[in-house]
Amino acid sequence: MYNLFSSLSAWMIPAIIVFIPLYAALRRKVPVYETFVEGAKDGFGTAINIIPHLVGMMVAISMFRSSGALELMLSAVRPLFDWLGIPSEVLPLGILRPLTGAGSLAFTTDLIQTFGPDSMIGRIASTIQGSTDTTLYVLTVYFGAVGIRKSRYALKVGLFSDLVGFFAAILICLYIFG
């Protein structure tokens, strides 16, 4: 099953890269190279637009982690987890996941290494990491690229779905592997 999927995803990108220009050139007589260059021009400016947004966010998150404020926040919530019977080792992931993709991946890897990939903690961590995206990063990049400053309720919705996904991942793992 996994082999099928992994070879499928290995073929997916090359297939798209070949199919799009081939179809465009043969069926629609599109001057493919010129069109590519024309569209690609926008890429640079868009990526540059994101810099101020991403720098602002990364600075705040990086400070928050290194100051020990994150750890403090975790120790405040930990008793609740113990009371609910949820392994509190996965708790930091619930807070890290929406904030930093690289940070939460590093934490997940660490949990897998420490407790083993087939332990309950390893499975829960893998499921949490895989099931949602880094909300703050997605918001910063997507809205930053078009210059949206007032994000309205978008962040609330993103964080809410992260919270739901976090608990769903734990409950589903406890039920399936428990």
């Binding site: 599109v30 024309e38 400070m63 099931s131 609330k156």
Partner: protein, 217 residues
């Protein structure tokens, strides 16, 4: 809300650092963070340039319109205020499909391009429209079929069955995405957009009712 979270991170960091005596580390972390912000943005340049070039070919060849027509009904339900044949629909579709197949580096440029198309429909370019919020909600909860990175890590640490988390991840991602769509719907109905001309405002108010009776997802 972003303003408050940002302020909270910075103030809490300095206060905690003052108590724990980690001020040097926090100063260093601030500039490390700034550096990685730029590094990540620069990393996006090559991906953006490549995929936006590819997508322009797809757009000119009419492939995006085909994609929009195929999966249009679902997208129209989620984005009721985007006109039927607007190019945004095609880009939204390609963004969602790229997410679904785990093509992370293709999903971002397509999502940004979709945002740029939605921006053309925006009466106030600094404030997010409901459609933008919906697109963001779908991307933050990211529907992924195969969590390839995690399977690789699990394999690396000698898992007996590295792919056993596909099912649980799919179930969790489904729950998270449903929650995102429902919450987005709820907020969309609750908060009429600010700073919009009255003619548009009545439209916005009318559309959720029109779609209200239909099940979402």
């Amino acid at each position: 809300m972003v303003n408050w979270i940002w302020l909270f991170f910075i103030v809490a960091s300095v206060v905690v650092a003052a108590i724990t005596g980690k001020m040097d580390a926090v100063t260093q972390a601030a500039f490390e963070g700034a550096k990685s912000g730029v590094t990540v943005s620069f990393g996006l340049i090559s991906i953006m340039v490549f995929w936006l070039g590819m997508m322009r070919i797809a757009e000119d060849a009419g492939l995006l319109q085909t994609l929009a027509r195929l999966l249009g009904p679902i997208v129209r339900k989620l984005f009721p205020d985007v006109p039927r044949n607007h190019p945004a629909i095609g880009y939204i579709m390609s963004n969602l499909s790229a997410n679904l197949f785990g093509l992370g580096n293709a999903a971002t440029p397509m999502g940004i391009k979709a945002m740029q198309e939605l921006q053309k429909l925006n009466p106030d370019p600094t404030t997010a429209t409901p459609a933008m919020c919906t697109l963001l909600a779908l991307n933050t909860s990211s529907i992924t079929i195969i969590p390839t990175t995690l399977i690789a890590i699990r394999m690396n640490y000698g898992s007996a069955n590295p792919a056993e988390i596909i099912g649980t991840t799919l179930a969790a991602t489904f729950v998270a995405t449903s929650a995102a769509i429902l919450a987005d719907r709820w907020y969309r109905r609750k908060s009429p957009p600010p700073a919009v001309p009255p003619s548009l405002k009545t439209n916005m108010k009318a559309s959720p009712h029109a779609a209200g009776g239909e099940p979402i997802v």
